[in-house]
């Protein structure tokens, strides 16, 4: 049998490697199952993968789950400021009742998780360092994710929406003053050439995005027991690798920026609390308002130690 896996990243990206590990392990298990990977949006565009997945028209994808927040508002919790503090916390998140609740919603869409994983990100700006809400007023900012847009707008920033591939040019020409995105995007789009200060994910980080390897549930159930076992074994190996690499990426990005003469700033525990207070009044509030069962899900997420 053959499974088709689509994702948006290049073959050098950690998320491609995660998919590749699963594909290699399954191939090595010799259970008459082949995973064909379509990287770099060569099959479907990034935001057009979830809908076909739910209808069994696509077998697998590595996807920032919040991209499907328009179909399942609960998914917006997987990219919510201040919910996750660091990578070990993220790993505990994956094992929690909160994730069980999210997986239940996925099951309703005929989708299941093979590999859990969070990636972190930070802030960068042209003329100043961004560590706390007071740094934001008046800055034209491109934020990654709806909840972050709401929070940063609450801090007084002006939000400009654009594709991440446009960020470099927009910063260069002065359309943008600040940007918030993932560590790997900061490096791959060479944002360090355009900014003076970078606040990477460190001991405290605001921006964590859940980007699992998903599979069509009925497709999985249609496989033989051996094939299912091989998939799950590959997924376990990939998940350990994913967590390891996710931790490394933040440090690597900080190094790259620093090598390019960009000042590196750190968020303090106080800063983190200030952001979180702001998030409560802005993004959390909006989330609860628009999501059925929103408060309960939010409490579940906040209760993870």
């Amino acid at each position: 049998a053959e499974l088709r896996l689509s994702h948006q990243w290049s073959t050098g990206d950690v998320r491609h490697k995660v998919a590749q590990i699963v594909a290699d392990e399954v191939a090595a298990a010799d259970v008459d199952l082949e995973i064909k990977i379509f990287p770099s949006q060569s099959l479907l565009k990034a935001r057009e993968q979830y809908k076909p997945l739910t209808r069994g028209l696509l077998d697998m994808t590595v996807l920032p789950l919040s991209y499907a927040g328009g179909q399942q508002p609960a998914y917006n919790l997987t990219l919510m400021p201040g919910l996750v503090k660091n990578h070990d916390h993220a790993a505990r998140m994956n094992e929690s009742p909160f994730m069980e609740a999210i997986e239940e919603i996925m099951a309703g869409d005929d989708v299941m998780v093979l590999v859990h994983g969070y990636l972190a990100g930070g802030f960068a700006a042209k003329d100043k360092c961004i560590t706390k809400p007071e740094d934001m007023p008046g800055l034209q900012t491109r934020a990654a994710g709806k909840a972050f847009e709401q929070m940063l707008a609450g801090a007084g920033a002006s939000i400009a929406s654009m594709a991440s591939s446009e960020v470099y040019n927009a910063m260069q020409s002065g359309v943008l003053d600040a940007v918030n995105t993932s560590s790997s995007s900061f490096v791959s789009y060479r944002i360090y050439e355009q900014v003076s200060c970078y606040t990477p994910a460190g001991e405290y980080a605001l921006w964590f995005m859940y980007q699992p390897l998903l599979m069509s549930k009925s497709k999985f159930e249609s496989l033989t027991e051996d094939q299912q076992k091989a998939l799950l074994a590959g997924a376990e190996k990939a998940e350990a690798f994913y967590l390891d690499e996710a931790k490394k990426e933040d440090a690597v990005s900080a190094e790259v920026f620093s090598e390019n003469g960009v000042e590196i700033a750190q968020m303090t525990a106080e800063d983190f609390e200030a952001w979180r207070t702001l998030a409560r009044e802005t993004s959390y509030k909006a989330f609860v308002e628009e999501t059925p069962n929103g408060q309960q899900l939010l409490d579940l997420a906040l209760s993870v130690e």
Partner: protein, 182 residues
């Protein structure tokens, strides 16, 4: 050689069905042009808000994209009527009038079939978005059935225009491929 000529729309003659479809397509063309103009104005407004007011621009990019898509899909039938969809009529030019007529029937039927299919699945996709209450994953959070509506409407109008073109060729109101007899 047809395609991008300054030449004229498909002929409707006096057939009432052809005239009604022609009128519908023309109206769709006006809507399409209006949406393009709206997209221009909204984009300029966005630049003004960002540059002069230094304020947030949350909805403009999305609105403008959906307007451009709708302009394209809704405009399809009008452009079909103007024979504005570029084609390569190598075979028709080689063929004798009788064979050319048959060729026109085949290509028009194939076009009708493919657009009927796009209409069917397009409607289904729109219905999904509508019944499940999908929105876009942005702060603006547009209900997606609104922009998606341009899929069934646009393909529906194009289907009508293609059927009209077929009727015109069959009844002799228009020449196959709009080509004059060689």
């Amino acid at each position: 050689m047809a395609g991008y000529s300054t030449a004229v729309a498909a002929r409707a003659g006096s057939n009432p069905f052809l005239r009604i479809v022609a009128a519908l397509s023309t109206f769709a063309g006006w809507c399409s042009a209006a949406m393009i103009v709206a997209a221009v104005l909204i984009t300029c407004q966005m630049i003004f808000v960002r540059l002069v007011l230094n304020a947030s621009t949350v909805w403009q990019t999305e609105a403008v994209i959906y307007l451009a898509i709708a302009a394209t899909l809704i405009g399809l039938s009008y452009v079909q009527r103007l024979r504005g969809h570029v084609n390569v009529d190598l075979f028709p030019l080689w063929l004798k009038p009788r064979a050319r007529f048959v060729m026109a029937l085949i290509t028009l039927s194939a076009s009708i079939l493919i657009i009927a299919m796009m209409l069917y699945y397009g409607f289904e996709f729109w219905h999904f978005a509508w019944s499940r209450g999908w929105t876009s994953d942005t702060v603006w959070g547009v209900r997606l059935w609104i922009p998606y509506l341009s899929i069934p409407v646009g393909f529906g109008l194009l289907l009508l225009q293609l059927i009209a073109d077929l009727v015109a060729v069959v009844t002799g109101a228009d020449k196959p491929f709009g080509l004059e007899d060689a």
